[in-house]
């Protein structure tokens, strides 16, 4: 294990950086996607409700690796057959897209549950003052919803981080993919995968601790309510 760490440490660290980059980019897009579909689902517009439900159900019903293959291999071919011959998709772009779509569906459910946890009297009070729906949502409902959402969002962050390993299948040099390279170079399989596992474990443990800490802080905050 020591030998692998000595030889490959900087390479592994760089790929851990790639994993984090992939996770963070996916998470940011997922929050946007999640917010849009959550708002579609909590509103009264039936068409939006339907679109939101279809998105969430469809994405949750497809394995991430299938989604990633579809985007990375399927879409460029589709675009070419439509005449866009210059269309290119890097593994990072496809990976972020697949992860963000996947994570976005779960995020939509987290945000929807957060919004629905806010007493409906809050929205009514805001509307009774003459504030439009969007303003009431932004100034009154969402700030309260976010408090209850934060632990679940960090939890989803951890899940997404682990899911990035699936994207080794489309060749993006994230941690797991680099693990494959190191393993085949050294043939020290036990040691290599133990090191890779350790890398994930350290980052995820730190994130879990952060989630617990935030949860406690929020609990303390709501006790004042």
């Amino acid at each position: 294990m020591g030998a692998i760490l000595n030889t490959y440490f900087s390479m592994l660290l760089k790929s851990l950086g790639n994993t984090m980059l992939l996770t963070l980019l996916a998470l940011i897009f997922a929050l946007v996607i999640g917010l849009i579909f959550a708002l579609m689902n909590v509103g009264k517009n039936r068409v939006f409700n339907l679109i939101g439900t279809i998105y969430v159900d469809a994405v949750r019903g497809v394995p991430l690796i299938v989604l990633a293959y579809f985007i990375y291999f399927g879409i460029p071919q589709g675009m070419k057959s439509l005449g866009f011959t210059d269309f290119r998709l890097t593994a990072l772009q496809a990976g972020v897209a697949a992860l963000a779509m996947n994570c976005g569906a779960y995020m939509a459910e987290i945000i929807r549950a957060g919004i629905e946890s806010v007493d409906k009297g809050q929205m009514e009070a805001a509307r009774s003052l003459g504030l439009p729906y969007g303003t009431s949502m932004r100034r009154v409902v969402l700030p309260q919803a976010i408090r209850t959402m934060i632990p679940s969002i960090i939890n989803q962050f951890i899940i997404t981080l682990k899911d990035t390993s699936i994207l080794s299948a489309i060749g993006f040099p994230e941690l797991t993919n680099t693990g494959k390279t190191v393993a085949s170079n050294t043939m020290a399989l036990i040691q290599t995968w133990a090191v890779i596992a350790l890398f994930y474990l350290v980052v995820i443990t730190l994130l879990s601790k952060l989630a617990k800490y935030m949860e406690r802080r929020i609990k303390r905050g709501t006790e004042e309510y």
């Binding site: 009297g121 009514e124 009070a125 509307r127 009774s128 003459g130 439009p132 009154v140």
Partner: protein, 246 residues
């Protein structure tokens, strides 16, 4: 004598929740400066009626005209009309993530009616009026029920409404806090505010109301001055109800 304006005109209002018809056929006019108290057993439709006036409940049928605006018409900008209708809720519904003064400033600032400074000044003035200026920077969870409701009244007044709706404003309060809230409401009534109040406080109704409307089963059963309705009720259902609550 000066002819007072009609503030609220309700004609043949009906409201159903699914198959349950809560308001069956309500017509009522409310004139400027009038204090109308709605009485009736729970489930009689009082709160629903009140919530229809600012369209927190969308009427199923009928016409509601407030300040000259037909609020049942989908083309009318309901947000504009609501600026003129303050509402106070049974459970206060203060925004817990904002301080007392921020609660009051939110609507005037967001709707660009006032600058932040103007809204703060107006807010402090309103807080003085309800005796809460010392709590301007406190967050609602730290207030007692009576204090919350006084802040809620101040918040509802921030947009300078000329009609105030009260939906059981003292029902969620500890008994010793009812008085302070009713006192603020009396002061408002004396100032000439047009008020529609759903309450079980018969004493308040007797003292402050110009008119008492007794509702049951989605209809107006009887209405008149407090003297008429409380002392000499004509309808059996009114008599029955008053016997139970008085």
């Amino acid at each position: 004598m000066e002819q007072k304006n009609t503030k609220v005109h309700v004609a043949n209002l009906k409201k159903s929740f699914g198959k349950l018809e809560v308001l069956k056929d309500i017509s009522m006019d409310i004139t400027e400066g009038e204090v109308v108290v709605l009485l009736g057993p729970s489930g009689s439709g009082k709160s629903t009626f009140l919530r229809c006036l600012n369209q927190l409940e969308v009427a199923t049928d009928g016409t509601i005209i407030v300040d000259g605006f037909n609020v049942t018409d989908k083309h009318v900008d309901i947000n504009k009309v609501r600026e003129n209708i303050g509402m106070v809720f049974q459970h206060f519904n203060l925004f817990p993530h904002m301080s007392v003064i921020e609660n009051i400033m939110l609507a005037p600032v967001e709707l660009k009616k006032m600058t932040k400074d103007e809204a703060r000044e107006k807010g402090m003035q309103l807080l003085r009026r309800v005796g809460m200026e010392a709590k301007a920077d406190v967050y609602p969870p730290q207030l007692s029920g009576g204090q919350k409701q006084r802040v809620a009244i101040a918040r509802a007044l921030a947009m300078n409404p000329d009609i105030m709706l009260f939906d059981e404003p003292t029902s969620a309060l500890d008994p010793e806090m009812v008085g302070e809230v009713l006192e603020v409401m009396k002061e408002l009534a004396r100032g000439g505010m047009t008020m529609v109040v759903v309450t079980h406080e018969i004493g308040f109704a007797r003292e402050v109301a110009n008119r008492i409307v007794f509702m049951d089963g989605g209809y107006i059963v009887e209405q008149g001055t407090p003297e008429e309705v409380l002392k000499n009720p004509k309808e059996a259902r009114t008599i029955d109800f008053l016997n139970k609550v008085l």
